[in-house]
């Protein structure tokens, strides 16, 4: 079979734009009064508009740039495509272990990798294209939105009246106040995928989920990556063991790790960008071809003239909402990154549908972070759902974690993916599951079993009886439940021969 390397197809980008921002688009004439006006057509705005339109409400959807928001254009989708390429390159280096020809230093075709990413983005854009939205009866407006009063907004100069509105404007990369950064030049998650060549040396500022994901991916693609994190550990929202496992994994990849280090300045020396750092009292310099800034996200709310509609907001936290996602204007709701601390696509979508229900359908659903799983897509992936141990302890909830190391799980061993663990956090004195942390190659998939279990209210006793396929990495979840059962029925003894199959 003849195979050809991936290449950029000229029509990919055109088709993509035709779907997310058609060149010949003409905004519709505004209707008299919309049931729902949605500002922002990212994951939250699209979910809300479609949810409301399918239920027969008149919907106006306003987008100032491209449909799909950060997630499709510069976030989850492109980064996962590139991470997949990075995995492939890493696997080539380890191929010898599996008896396949080992490639010491596989040459990267960066153009091909980026072309694959764009092609994937184009494919996925088909599900929420401008024409599909119009076909659903949604009035789609491209333009800049701002409030014109409590129940009206302007799209550029056009006035739209609404019964209810949803702010779903998302967030953008936060740019830290580092001297000379603008002049030196930098990239963010929004612009990193515009690169046309792999930088030989990449300095990453920020060790949160995005910084770690991109740093590891570009390292595996062959860049010399140095990551600078001003905290003593990566992923401050995750437990220490998970963050440390990631740190060792990144070190194994050859990344230079500067924890507890602050970026204090930048400058240029010829074509080289210099990042100046400070670790306690020790100053240092990192030479790079590109500087990538991943220091969190800030909500996009400045241009909305929220005051005109009586909407309270905080520049860092976004629109102030109550537990029902309603703002200080009772007819205006918010969802997604514009108001939530958990800035993830799945949280944006679920909060948007909930806000629509509360705004138009008379439901009184409370937004609850405790059943929203999240994942950092490094290798290994780090996923979590529910309470962290420290949350429970601060709330005086006695908590115990049942841990299974992946190196005790048969399928993880056969896969050569033994790094990580499954921890299920249980309320002591009961079998109620409060949360789970999973570190595994496919933690993003495994955590969804925990999401189902927790949403269904299944406890550890019942979970121990759920038959899993064998061998499967998800067997670790069953093993944790079986450890719970041994612990609580008094049959625990250190007898390795009693180890169940998983």
């Amino acid at each position: 079979m003849q195979r050809t390397a991936p290449e950029a197809r000229p029509d990919d980008e055109a088709r993509f734009l035709e779907r997310v921002r058609p060149g010949n688009w003409r905004n519709p004439r505004p209707k008299g009064l919309y049931d729902l006006a949605v500002i922002g057509a990212g994951p939250a705005g699209l979910a809300a508009a479609e949810h409301a339109a399918r239920r027969g409400f008149s919907v106006a959807l306003v987008e100032r740039a491209h449909l799909g928001g950060n997630s499709l254009n510069a976030g989850s989708v492109p980064s996962k495509a590139i991470i997949r390429t990075a995995h492939a390159y890493d696997a080539m280096r380890d191929a010898g272990e599996f008896g396949a020809p080992e490639v010491e230093d596989p040459a990267l075709d960066f153009t091909a990798a980026m072309a694959r990413m764009r092609r994937i983005r184009t494919r996925i854009s088909v599900y929420h294209s401008a024409h599909d939205l119009a076909a659903l009866g949604i009035d789609l407006f491209f333009g800049e939105a701002r409030f014109a009063g409590a129940n009206a907004l302007f799209v550029d100069d056009e006035r739209l009246a609404f019964r209810k509105a949803l702010i779903a404007t998302g967030a953008r990369p936060r740019i830290p106040d580092i001297p000379n950064l603008e002049r030196t030049g930098y990239r963010t998650s929004a612009t990193i995928f515009e690169m046309t060549a792999l930088p030989k040396r990449l300095a990453v500022i920020g060790g949160g989920p995005l910084g770690c994901e991109l740093a590891q991916a570009f390292c595996r693609l062959g860049a010399h990556v140095t990551i600078v994190q001003n905290n003593p550990k990566f992923l401050p929202r995750e437990e220490r063991d998970a963050a440390e496992i990631l740190s060792w994994s990144m070190a194994r990849d050859g990344m230079e790790i500067r924890l507890n280090t602050t970026a204090t300045g930048t400058r240029r020396k010829g074509d080289t960008k210099i990042l100046e750092t400070l670790n306690n009292d020790v100053s240092g310099e990192i030479e790079a071809d590109e500087i990538l800034v991943c220091t969190g996200r800030v909500p996009n709310i400045e241009t909305l003239d929220l005051a005109a509609a009586g909407i309270a907001a905080d520049p860092r936290r976004g629109v102030t909402v109550d537990e029902f996602l309603r703002s200080s204007n009772p007819d205006v709701y918010a969802a997604g990154d514009a108001c939530l601390p958990l800035k993830f696509t799945n949280a944006a979508q679920s909060s948007a549908r909930m806000a629509v229900g509360n705004a138009l359908l008379g439901t009184r659903q409370r937004h609850d972070n405790s059943v929203i799983p999240w994942c950092t897509f490094c290798d290994p992936e780090i996923a979590h759902i529910g309470l962290q141990v420290w949350d429970a302890r601060r709330q005086a909830i006695p908590i115990k974690s049942y841990t299974v190391m992946l190196n005790d799980v048969d399928r993880a061993i056969t896969d050569g993916q033994e790094t990580g663990f499954v921890k299920i956090h249980v309320a002591e004195g009961s079998d109620r599951i409060l949360g789970a942390t999973i570190v595994a190659s496919r933690a993003s998939e495994l955590i969804n079993e925990m999401a189902v279990i927790m949403s269904a209210g299944i406890g550890m006793q019942a979970l121990a009886d759920v038959v899993h396929t064998y061998p499967a990495q998800s067997g670790a979840i069953m093993l944790a439940a079986q450890a719970y059962r041994r612990d609580t029925d008094g049959t625990v003894r250190n007898d390795p021969s009693r180890k169940p199959l998983a």
Binding site: E239, W248, N260, N280, W390, R394, T403, N407, E428, A483
Partner: protein, 427 residues
């Protein structure tokens, strides 16, 4: 007679005496400071001095030092610290009653631009209080008590909170408090107890609770444990405090105590050695002891389909890692007060199969048979004072409970435990 042929009692006594003798052999005759390691040019580690001060009474009781000689050595080092430079200057010995982690053996000044260390000061002060508790006579023994009291009282524990409810790990004149705090259970219990017991500059009442809110109670390898990976973290505070039967709020909730917890941690380390998930050479039920210590610093290599990276001096842990196949040969024997059967079984196995890990009857800091840099495996050069000090004291607690008894009577320790919420047992 070779170590392998000695009875358990004789073996333990010989190893204890050899460990203790490090603290004499590597002490500076003028300052009384004790070297961090046996290597040429090693500075003093203040924590090793803490163990030395705790071990002098052990030596008296075992007939290795006369009481007068032990008192002389003790007084010398207490005088040194009392008269040392306490200031914010970069080359002082200490500041606010705390001391820099590493000091020049002769001058007693800070070296290596190291940190003003809270935990190492606590280990030093624990030894200071042992001295005060043991030397109950007149004359220079009275002076020992006065000096010890002054040294304890001048430690400004409250300052080290830096206006927060937590504790930093240290301070430097160049940059102030370090960003690192104490997260999760570890060896710092003794630090909190000493800080809470102070009549002069105590830690705030909520400090211990703030720390314990970061604890993780886990069921690991079928054992319940207040988790911390490196083995030494389950041993250090226990060198001074007998945690049998006394419980704080956390341990009351878990119906356990810190002594039992150390036994669980040891069982997990042993089980991990048996399972040996990373297929390191040597690991088995009698070859364990993954902890902080010296290790090989060599480039990574590929071995039997596995990446092998080596971490040098590092705090290693179980089961989450890091683990590079290095164990600390002294660690199994140091568990003697908790699990004597496991301690002796492992120690004998080591002496039988790898006698080179105990040169001069003193255990090396690190041993890695996975790395074949020498026949049998990589071995740390010389000895580390912390290892030897912990062994000398822990073995004595197993044999006679001497240090535990002294510290049970220490009013500062009792006050600190009370303020941390400990009740029951000998309290």
């Amino acid at each position: 007679m070779g170590l392998r042929h000695l009875s358990d009692e004789a073996l333990v006594r010989r190893l204890q005496r050899a460990a203790f003798s490090y603290l004499i052999d590597y002490a500076d005759p003028d300052t009384g400071l004790v070297a961090d390691t046996s290597r040429d040019g090693s500075p003093c580690s203040i924590a090793v001095v803490g163990f030395a001060l705790s071990a002098y009474p052990v030596a008296v009781e075992n007939g290795w030092l006369s009481r007068k000689e032990a008192a002389d050595r003790t007084l010398k080092v207490l005088r040194f610290f009392l008269n040392s430079v306490q200031s914010a200057a970069a080359d002082a010995t200490g500041y606010r009653g705390f001391y820099y982690h590493f000091l020049d053996m002769r001058s007693g000044r800070r070296v290596w631009q190291c940190e003003l260390s809270l935990i190492d000061t606590a280990l030093l002060i624990a030894g200071v209080l042992v001295a005060a508790g043991y030397f109950d006579g007149d004359g220079e023994e009275s002076e020992i008590r006065d000096h010890a009291d002054a040294l304890y009282r001048r430690v400004d524990w409250h300052w080290a909170q830096n206006g927060t409810s937590g504790l930093s790990q240290g301070w430097k004149p160049e940059c102030g408090f370090l960003h690192y705090g104490w997260e999760g259970y570890n060896e710092a219990t003794i630090l909190y107890i000493l800080g809470l017991g102070s009549p002069t500059f105590p830690l705030s009442a909520s400090c211990f609770e703030t720390w314990s809110l970061t604890y993780q109670w886990e069921n690991l390898l079928d054992r319940d444990v207040l988790y911390c990976g490196p083995l030494f973290t389950h041993l250090f505070s226990h060198a001074w405090i007998d945690f049998r039967g006394i419980r704080d709020a956390f341990m009351r909730e878990k119906d356990s105590d810190y002594f039992e917890n150390t036994k669980s941690a040891i069982a997990i380390h042993r089980e991990y050695g048996e399972r040996n998930p990373y297929e390191f050479e040597g690991y088995c039920r009698d070859f364990w002891g993954v902890t902080a210590g010296d290790g090989p610093s060599v480039p990574a290599l590929r071995q039997n389909g596995r990446d092998r990276r080596f971490f040098g001096y590092m705090s290693r842990g179980v089961p989450y890692g890091p683990d590079d196949g290095t164990i600390s040969p002294w660690a199994m024997l140091a568990t003697l007060p908790f699990t004597p059967e496991a301690a002796l079984s492992g120690t004998r196995y080591l002496l039988e199969h790898y006698p080179e890990v105990c040169p001069g009857d003193r255990f090396s800091s690190g041993f890695n048979p996975t790395l074949h840099s020498a026949p049998g495996g990589w071995l740390s050069e010389g000895w580390y004072g912390l290892d030897q000090g912990l062994l000398a004291v822990s073995i004595e607690n197993h044999r006679s409970g001497l240090i535990w008894d002294i510290m049970r009577r220490c009013r500062y320790i009792r006050a600190g435990l009370a303020h941390a919420g400990f009740t029951g047992g000998w309290l």
